[in-house]
């Protein structure tokens, strides 16, 4: 029971804090660019304004558009329910690591559905690029979870998301390799520069999200903001979980401080890099995929 309450608290915190993190990121980007930047509450204003706009249903399949919009936020919030954010994870009741991997992939698929439902040329180009990068990118996180599961000999979420990548014998080589790879590819999971190839870019007129307006766009933007929080929670759970056993308010505070540090890192990297082309990005991810397969082999042998 306490676990379910913790899960609901997670969802509530994600809903409240996600736009704040986005606002902090925009402010840091602005300061690095030597300008004043929007106030940190700006994404709240954006979302409220989008909710008040008219909903124009353009695109080839409007029903699928609605479905994709609802599904994107729902998938992110479901992952938020399962992931520990400073408290005990309620996931043990509902699922395990495999469910987590599927839900993460579902979050990526929502984008593809959105672009397909829109059906315009720019959207289709956007989702084709997203598909290309998803093929080489999504397995990275799955392999990180699987490395943890291999070390811990269990698929239960509260064991896997508790620093299990380090629990091999001796020096945890596979854990360190996966930590490095995840740091290098974190930008891509949260869809920020330099890897936001498919969407939110002026080259493709915002790609898959092009035909959305008003409340549905608000749902997509909210999902994008929440992905940052959820992925940083996953990262913290897998690789830097120390301090979870403290008294609950302290553990919560420590968790949010850690995720704030990750957001700072994401913001600084996003402000100082240029966007990669799709072929450059695919080559980058393919190199990291090969390294992660090496880590998987190491983990299978217990290192």
């Amino acid at each position: 029971m306490a676990n379910v309450a913790a899960g609901l608290l997670n969802v509530l915190m994600v809903l409240l804090v996600a736009p704040l993190f986005q606002g902090i990121q925009r402010k840091i980007t602005a300061r690095i660019q030597a300008r004043q930047g929007p106030p940190i509450w700006q994404p709240y204003f954006d979302l409220l304004k989008l909710l008040g706009k008219e909903d124009i249903e353009a695109g080839t399949v409007p029903a699928m558009q609605r479905f994709a919009a609802y599904l994107s936020l729902a998938a992110v919030l479901t992952v938020a329910f399962l992931v520990p954010m400073g408290t005990a994870v309620p996931g043990a009741l509902v699922g395990d690591a495999i469910l987590l991997i599927y839900l993460l992939t579902l979050m990526g698929i929502c984008n593809l559905l959105a672009g397909l439902a829109a059906g315009s040329a720019y959207s289709l180009v956007g989702i084709s690029r997203e598909m290309m990068s998803m093929v080489v990118l999504e397995p990275l996180f799955a392999i990180a979870v699987i490395v943890g599961a291999l070390h811990a000999h269990s698929l239960r979420l509260e064991i896997v998301l508790n620093g299990s990548a380090y629990s091999g014998t001796g020096v945890p080589w596979s854990g360190i390799v996966m930590l490095g790879l995840m740091l290098l590819s974190f930008q891509a999971f949260v869809q920020r520069v330099p890897f936001d190839i498919s969407e939110a870019e002026t080259e493709l007129m915002e790609g898959p999200l092009m035909e959305y307006s008003g409340p549905k766009l608000a749902l997509f933007k909210y999902a994008q903001m929440a992905k940052l929080v959820v992925y940083s929670a996953l990262f913290i759970g897998l690789f830097i979980p120390w301090g979870e056993t403290l008294h609950p308010p302290l553990a919560l505070l420590l968790f949010w401080l850690k995720s704030l540090a990750l957001v700072l890192l994401v913001a600084v990297v996003a402000a100082t890099h240029a966007r990669y082309r799709i072929d450059q990005a695919v080559r980058y991810f393919a190199a990291m995929m090969i390294a992660s397969l090496g880590a998987l082999v190491l983990a299978a042998y217990g290192y």
């Binding site: 929007p38 204003f45 409220l48 304004k49 909710l51 008040g52 124009i56 493709l204 007129m205 035909e211």
Partner: protein
């Protein structure tokens, strides 16, 4: 209650779509200047978006050409309500120098309804920020029509029949009632 909150937030986060329907790009550069760190307009929450479906305000530059009038109308129709249209520069306000050219239909107001005019050739970035501030309600507008009247009807006419006298002493008899 939520609706009034959303309506209030409209002025705090205007997303802008930039449409140049045939101008010389002078006003384009001034609009892009407004987004640079020096005149940073993102501190008001204004963001440049790539699709008219995401936008609240359309900044139109250049006169409405015969070739681009259709595209401009479609971009305007694609914007969800509530929306604002700014006509930036003298070409978009009144046709500019090219108002009677063979390729130009006229000002942007001939194709889409314009809410705010920001004249200039090109308008300074401060003038564009001022225009957006007037639209949002932060400042009052300064432009007002000027009328100077030196004479009004009826105009007193001098008539040779009313000149009396001879030589040095010539008197003009003004008509009754003047």
């Amino acid at each position: 209650m939520l609706e009034s909150l959303c309506a209030q937030m409209f002025g705090r986060s205007l997303w802008v779509y930039h449409a140049n329907s045939g101008g010389c790009n002078g006003c384009d550069i001034e609009v892009l200047n407004v987004l640079t760190p020096y005149y940073d307009v993102e501190r008001f929450g204004i963001k440049l978006v790539g699709s008219p479906r995401h936008a609240d305000a359309m900044l139109c530059q250049g006169p409405a050409l015969r070739a681009t009038a259709d595209a401009l109308r479609r971009a305007y129709d694609a914007m969800p309500a509530p929306k604002l249209v700014f006509a930036i520069g003298s070409c978009a306000c009144g046709g500019g120098m090219w108002y009677d050219s063979y390729a130009v239909l006229g000002p942007v107001g001939k194709v889409i309804p314009v809410n705010f005019y920001v004249p200039g050739c090109p308008p300074r970035p401060e003038a564009i920020i001022y225009g957006v501030a007037v639209a949002v309600g932060l400042v009052d507008k300064k432009a007002a029509p000027v009328r100077f009247k030196q004479a009004e009807f009826p105009i007193p006419l001098y008539h040779p029949d009313r000149l009396h006298g001879e030589g040095e002493l010539v008197i003009y008899e003004s008509p009754k009632g003047v």
